[in-house]
């Protein structure tokens, strides 16, 4: 009994210390800037890799091969742990400053959803850069390089407490006290507290919001460095994915403290750590296998309960602007890259270069459009008969599956305005449904796919329930916790046991499977496209743009939101069912939170509101990388492409949050708006008014017009310079 108590204390305190440390950095940045930093795990991991590479003296090399550009370089530095720490902290400060200056500042007035996607994109960027620079191998901290000695300092009830574990807990306690004192007694700390409550009032008293943003990112990044270094040492073997997962638990702790309260966040971090250890010790005594995913389920439960109860302290600081959806205005044109490649300027130059009002031009653009669509369709239909190398088969089938993944994001995020990073869980659900229907119930071939889709409905409702009360940041954290729980508890039970599904003999040829997938995908797209133009689709847009206005028109948010979650979940689980048949078994990599986030990012880049988005997304981020993977040996994969995609994501969020697919429409509206409006229009209340107006417009579009046709005509009219 005593042994158990001390053992829970030992394990729980250390895990709790780690969560508290992560929560601390998150709160620090959120308090001053209202930015939920989903890149925190990536920052901590990058800095941990940086630190231990200095300590081990491994050669850090950078090899870039980009078209004609070849950069090869490397350095070998060898420092002791404590000599390297100041270097790491300086690098952390620089990283924080860099991120704030180049990436965050342009988004100062962006909506919460935009900020979430941008920081998720930043996490992808940091992860890819870390892999490019430090390699993809896990970071292993040997005994010689541990932060403190791993020998026991004292033994209580037969449980050893090592210097390392007690040391990390002590660091967290000291750091917490330091941060608390900073907020309590210093002028800067007081200013940050004021900014957290009311940015405008604080700035009227001479508080520089920009300066505080820099201060908080620099110090937040330094806390990330400490967290990363301590964490990597404690867990011995780590990678960016692990740190991201741990940072989600840090988020859970920070959310309990309303993202602004330090003491509550730190206490919640310790609470989650000890709670997890308690669950582990209790379950392990019965059955080790049961333990799989139990801590994540516990965290999920805690997050859901806390958020669902909506205690006053969480929601008192929340302002309306944090709940605005993904459309609306973008980050702004302040991003320095964007100034160079201002799409509005580019459009004007284009307009000037091309003769206006030319019927020939109109015919040409329509011709190009039809040509591209027809070409793609022809390619898709004739693909299996084209003289292409055999390795094209798998990428082609996966591309069809990615099309559905992006479509599921388009429905949920783009149309309904609900942001969820648990889509990967539906791939797992689809796979699990197929496995159960085919192997246990022995249903004949196409039926298990339907089984997967049916199984997704209750799961969708389960995920959708938090969305009935939560929006923006809180919904993302809830779905993150959900995705994590599914990844840890659901996937291993279906993928590790070697659950295999077998296709019937008549489907085993590449061509048969390809055409089957193609047919399913086309049907899903046609149905989704039809839905967009009906009452259901319009009620999605209305909810997205303003829930209040939609309710005033008699739309019931509960029903509409759950419908959206079910439709989106069904599409994703369809993709999961197909994937399971394609690969012969459920693959854990496709059900992870990381997969969900990556594809959410790709979907946003491609165009989250348009039906054309999935096609662009699946071709750029699905077909092309899969082909590259088939031709290049796995060890030689460059992360340049991931880096490029992440940078592209951030730039697109700054220019136009609706993505590539609607770029031309966006540029036109900006160009015409510029003529009477100088872009000085970032007032929050007006964004709300505009959102309400668009919501009303959706509701008034009673005749069932074919949306796409209308768009094309308007586009051509503008391109050919017709007066609007």
């Amino acid at each position: 009994m005593i042994h158990t108590t001390f053992s829970i204390l030992s394990g729980g305190l250390v895990a709790g210390a780690v969560y508290a440390l992560l929560a601390m950095g998150l709160v620090l940045i959120y308090k001053a800037t209202r930015i939920p930093n989903f890149a925190y795990g990536g920052m901590a991991s990058f800095l941990a890799f940086f630190h231990y590479n200095l300590v081990t003296g491994r050669r850090v090399s950078l090899n870039l091969d980009l078209l004609y550009l070849h950069i090869h370089g490397g350095v070998t530095v060898h420092l002791s742990f404590w000599a390297a720490l100041p270097v790491t902290l300086a690098a952390a400060a620089l990283l924080g400053w860099f991120i704030e200056r180049l990436i965050i500042r342009p988004f100062a007035k962006a909506s919460m959803v935009t900020l979430i996607i941008v920081t998720l994109g930043l996490n992808l960027l940091l992860t890819a850069v870390a892999e490019q620079v430090f390699g993809t191998k896990d970071l292993v901290v040997s005994n010689a390089h541990a932060i403190f000695s791993r020998s026991p300092v004292l033994s209580l009830g037969g449980v050893n407490f090592t210097y390392e574990r007690l040391g990390v807990v002590a660091i967290v306690v000291v750091l917490s006290a330091g941060v608390w004192a900073f907020f309590r007694f210093t002028a800067t700390g007081l200013a940050i507290r004021a900014v957290a409550t009311d940015r405008d009032v604080a700035s009227l008293l001479g508080v520089s919001v920009r300066q505080l943003s820099v201060v908080s990112w620099v110090t937040g990044s330094m806390v990330a460095a400490v967290a990363g270094v301590a964490l990597a040492s404690i867990v011995i073997s780590s990678n960016p994915g692990l740190l991201f997962v741990l940072s989600i638990k840090g988020f859970a702790a920070a959310i309990v403290g309303g993202m602004v309260s330090f003491p509550i966040a730190v206490a919640a971090g310790f609470g989650i750590g000890i709670g997890e250890e308690l669950v582990r010790q209790t379950i392990v005594q019965h059955d080790t296998k049961l333990y799989t995913g139990a801590p994540e389920v516990l965290t999920l439960g805690a997050v859901i309960v806390v958020l669902a109860l909506r205690p006053r302290w969480i929601f008192k600081g929340i302002r309306d602007d944090e709940d605005t959806g993904i459309t609306g205005r973008g980050g702004g044109s302040e991003l320095f890259l964007v100034r160079w490649i201002d799409p509005v300027e580019a459009y004007r130059l284009l307009r000037a270069a091309i003769p206006t009002t030319s019927p020939g031009l109109r015919r040409t653009t329509r011709g190009i459009r039809i040509g591209v669509v027809a070409g793609l369709a022809l390619f898709a239909v004739t693909f299996p008969f084209l003289p292409l190398p055999a390795f094209w088969t798998l990428p082609a089938n996966l591309t069809l599956i990615y099309l559905l993944v992006v479509l599921s994001f388009v429905v949920l995020v783009g149309w309904l305005g609900q942001i969820s990073v648990a889509q990967g869980a539906f791939l797992a659900v689809g796979g699990a449904g197929v496995a159960v229907c085919a192997n246990t119930l022995h249903l004949p071939f196409p039926l298990p796919i339907l089984g997967g889709v049916l199984l997704s409905i209750p799961v969708s409702i389960l995920i959708g329930l938090p969305a009935l009360r939560l929006r923006g940041l809180h919904l993302v954290v809830a779905t993150l916790a959900f995705g994590l729980a599914a990844e840890r508890a659901l996937l291993p039970r279906f993928s590790e046991g070697g659950v295999r599904v077998v296709l019937p003999t008549y489907m085993r040829s590449d061509r048969a499977l390809y055409y089957f997938f193609l047919a399913v995908t086309v049907v899903a797209f046609v149905l989704a496209g039809r839905m967009k133009a009906t009452r259901v689709g319009r009620s999605f847009f209305a909810i997205r743009d303003s829930e209040t206005v939609a309710s005033a028109y008699g739309i019931r948010p509960v029903r509409v939101k759950l419908t959206g979650f079910v439709v989106s979940g069904a599409i994703a689980s369809l993709a999961g069912s197909m994937l399971t048949y394609q690969l012969g078994a459920l693959n854990a990599g496709y059900g992870s939170v990381a997969f969900s986030i990556e594809w959410l990012a790709y979907s946003v880049v491609a165009g989250i509101t348009s039906i054309a988005g999935p096609i662009i997304g699946a071709l750029f981020f699905g077909l092309y990388p899969e082909l590259a993977k088939s031709t290049v040996s796995a060890s030689n994969i460059s992360h340049i492409q991931e880096i490029f995609a992440a940078v592209l994501l951030i730039v697109i969020m700054a220019v136009n949050p609706e993505g590539l697919a609607s770029m031309s429409r966006f540029v036109r509206s900006r160009a015409s708006a510029h003529e009477d409006d100088d872009g000085a229009s970032d007032a929050e209340d007006l964004a709300a008014i505009e959102a309400a107006a668009t919501a009303e417009r959706h509701l008034e579009e009673l005749p069932l017009e074919a949306d796409a046709d209308g768009d094309i005509d308007a586009e051509e009219a503008a391109l050919s310079g017709a007066p609007s």
């Binding site: 700035s203 008293l205 920009r210 000085a680 007032a683 007006l686």
Partner: protein, 249 residues
């Protein structure tokens, strides 16, 4: 549009030709307002006339699309709000301007944020604030959110005075307050004005403002419609009707 070339030495604030829009909605139309050093000016007008927006435009909380703002002879048009505050133009925001999660003392300390490296001046400034409203001394550890509306407004004014500004702009002084409290606050502003601080106050309570202010400005639909003595405004039925009936022409 008036050009900002004719600013006299006695003019402390000169806003010329301010246009401001939120998206497609224009709020301010070519608004020009001059305030002389040591003056007590009341800005009156109907709901949505643009009074508060004008103050926000001056302190650059809401960016203007055209026009210039000069303070103490310098162009402050493009400066961020905190830099404008540092130049001695204090803006007490409307509604509950005090920060409810901070204590009374922390609110005042924040008011002295600009003096954070000058301990002596900060202590002096805080002492002045406590002198102005002695009840704050015993309640310095109380959270501002637990104060009454009038007390919060007093705190917001006291907080703005810690740094010894040369001009004080007070938005919606009387919002949600009992008339007797408003009178007291007006008295305080009058006293401050007597000590040499220029005051521009946005008021809904027209008759009281006319009694206290030396000069009255009247705004309607984003434009300045009247500037002069309060008694002359009383004679302008065409303008006042809109105040009392809430309608234009």
């Amino acid at each position: 549009m008036t050009m900002a070339t004719d600013i006299g030495a006695e003019t402390i604030l000169a806003a010329r030709g301010l246009d401001l829009r939120y998206g497609r909605v224009q709020i301010l139309f070519d608004v020009s307002i001059d305030v002389r050093r040591g003056e007590f000016v009341a800005l009156l007008g109907t709901n949505g006339a643009g009074k508060s927006t004008f103050l926000k435009a001056v302190s650059n909380l809401s960016p203007i699309s055209s026009g210039r703002v000069h303070f103490e002879g310098d162009d402050i048009t493009l400066l961020p709000p905190d830099v404008i505050a540092a130049r001695g133009l204090a803006h007490v925001p409307g509604g509950r301007g005090s920060l409810p999660d901070l204590t009374v003392e922390e609110n005042l300390r924040l008011g002295g944020h600009l003096l954070r490296s000058q301990k002596g001046r900060l202590a002096e400034g805080m002492a002045r604030a406590f002198d102005l409203f002695p009840w704050m001394v015993t309640r310095r550890r109380q959270l501002a959110g637990t104060l009454s509306g009038g007390e919060q407004q007093m705190l917001a004014i006291a907080r703005a005075l810690v740094t010894e500004p040369s001009m004080l702009m007070v938005d919606e002084l009387s919002l949600g307050l009992a008339p007797i409290i408003v009178e007291e606050l007006m008295g305080v502003l009058k006293t401050l004005n007597g000590q040499g601080i220029t005051v521009l106050v946005v008021e809904q309570h027209a008759t009281l403002a006319m009694e206290v202010a030396e000069r009255v400005l009247f705004m309607e639909k984003g434009q300045v419609r009247f500037s002069g003595d309060g008694r002359d405004l009383l004679g302008r039925e065409d303008l006042l009707r809109s105040v009392f009936l809430g309608a234009g022409h």
